[in-house]
Amino acid sequence: MKLFFYMILMCVCFLPNLVFASVKPVVRMANELYTYNMGFNNIYLSDSDRAVLWRAINSKLLSMQNEGKLPFQLINEVSAGGHYMNELALDSDIYLIPAVMVNSARDTSYSSTTSTYYNSNIVSGISLIFCIPEEDYERGGVSFRMLGMVPIVNSAVIGRTQKSENGRRSLVTRKTPILEAEKASKFISLSKEAIEKQINFSSAMKNLKDPNALFNMDTYQVTNVKMSSPKAQQTFQGQDEKEIKFLTAYNYTAGLQQKTKKIVYPPVNMDNAFANNVVDTMYSLSLDSPNGSVDVGISQPAHKIELDISGANYTYANNIVAYKVWLAKHNRGGEFKELTRGYSQNLIDDGSIDFNTKDMYSRLLMGVAWELGYAER
């Protein structure tokens, strides 16, 4: 009788855990790192670089799994020689595709009376994309449908120290151009830092348990970034405009996801003509790897967000140069919110400025975009 009693007690104690464990969805992780190539990915990543980042992501996820922090059961796919993502048998499993969304390096230089100094602004944006396979009726084989993603982002400048001895300014210190290998190395270190610190799955990911829920999920997407600021329009043109719009949207998306844990989609390609054509229907995200590419279909989001780079300017006063940007957010429901971010420092001794205006606006916009996303409830 006692034995029977203890068996019941054990069942009561462990049953909830068993139930929780059993309902965790199986997620198969792609065995290589993909790239969303929109033309902003100008840091060359070798196969070994990509492998390093893939291992960093995998290691982080396995570590979280061992600590019971993953809301899913992770399985690593073993490829027999590439292309496996397109050779999947259709089943109900969920797939996780790690993808580099942004690997950007912007080089600038400044010449004083004595030297030329070099900077390179490095931005890393990686996303863990969750999707389900589905038959591709047009081309045959398998394509994927996005369930959501966890975006992470990090940035830094090569060639600039944090502070001068007398306080209020950072210094350009690099007198030789930044090498490509240095950019890749910095990109990897930034990415690894972000992977370690920012990957976080939340209760929102419980939607993974029921992929059918994707059709009525509470999904969010930045579908457009306007640039109403005249100064910003002068500063960012052509490819620069597309890049800063995407970086702004991606940083907003990362802040939004990290704060609210909502299901977010990657920002729409900021080519306006393209964006206007696709946002009202489903479209595909093409992800490339050295072994092939996969298409991930994205449904129309439940909530479309429009950002507006609504101001950018700088002034001199009292030996100080001050930069400031404005970023506004519009929801389709009419909600409006605007934040600003500024930066200032003393002019250098000869009264000149060793900041590139475009770089400074870019850094401020990325920062304020993340903050605007993180301010969401």
Binding site: Q198, A232, Q258, G367, R377
Partner: protein, 236 residues
């Protein structure tokens, strides 16, 4: 009788498990609220314009993206700190006040490990919090941790609405307690490398520490002008 006793034990076991699942997120949310509250109260208690710290923080660490990471830790340490100094708060009720707080799994587990005490929400009042801050031991490791996490979190968010770290440093430096709090600043300045985490910061040299404190104060000299400069940039 024996049967009723067993059923009773089973019911107690079920109830215990249910209460565990219910209260853990609430504790985490409460500690987040307390962390923010403590930062705000410290600012008020020390009589400093919180907005004037904005630039200093913006400069201090050139990284905006680690806010959530440090927010969690500041919140947890803030909660433990209040508990240690005798501020008792009823977590479930506080959680209702701040229902938007993060309650990530990691944070819940960390909070659970730290065993934050929960008693009575009626004890939350400004006078009590101010009184508590006056009892803080500047050499308390928890205070240093809180200052570091809070300062780093605020920088990461690009704001200084509860800039407890630097404010405490300012206050304590005037009483020659600078070294302990200064380590927080050093760590914040260096935090962009993995080695700069708090655990490794305490061994840094005094020279480095003094340099960081000096830089922080040099920055503050211009803060009025700088704040105005940014504020007055016309929209373009």
């Amino acid at each position: 009788m024996e049967g009723k006793k067993r059923i009773g034990i089973i019911l107690v076991a079920i109830f215990t498990m249910m209460s565990f699942h219910v209260t853990e997120p609430a504790k985490a949310e409460a500690s987040g609220f307390l962390g923010d509250l403590l930062g705000g109260i410290l600012s008020s208690a020390l009589g400093t314009d919180r907005n004037s710290m904005w630039d200093t923080y913006y400069d201090m660490v050139d990284n905006y993206y680690a806010a959530a990471y440090y927010s969690d830790r500041a919140a947890v340490v803030g909660g433990v700190l209040l508990d240690k100094y005798g501020v008792k708060v009823h977590s479930e009720q506080v959680a209702l006040v701040n229902s938007s707080s993060d309650s990530s799994d990691e944070m819940v587990q960390r909070t659970a490990r730290m065993k934050i005490t929960t008693i009575d929400t009626s004890l939350i009042n400004l006078d009590q919090f101010v009184a508590v801050t006056k009892r803080f031991d500047p050499n308390d490791d928890l205070i240093r941790k809180f200052c570091y996490y809070k300062a780093t979190q605020e920088e990461a968010l690009g704001r200084a609405n509860s800039a407890a770290g630097l404010l405490v440093a300012k206050r304590l430096l005037s009483r020659d307690y600078g070294r302990a709090i200064g380590e927080c600043i050093v760590t914040a300045l260096w935090y962009d490398s993995v080695k700069s985490r708090f655990a490794n910061a305490s061994g840094r040299s005094v020279n480095l520490l003094n340099q960081a404190i000096k830089q922080t104060y040099d920055v503050r000299v211009d803060k009025g002008k700088i704040k105005d400069a940014i504020k007055n940039v016309p929209r373009g």
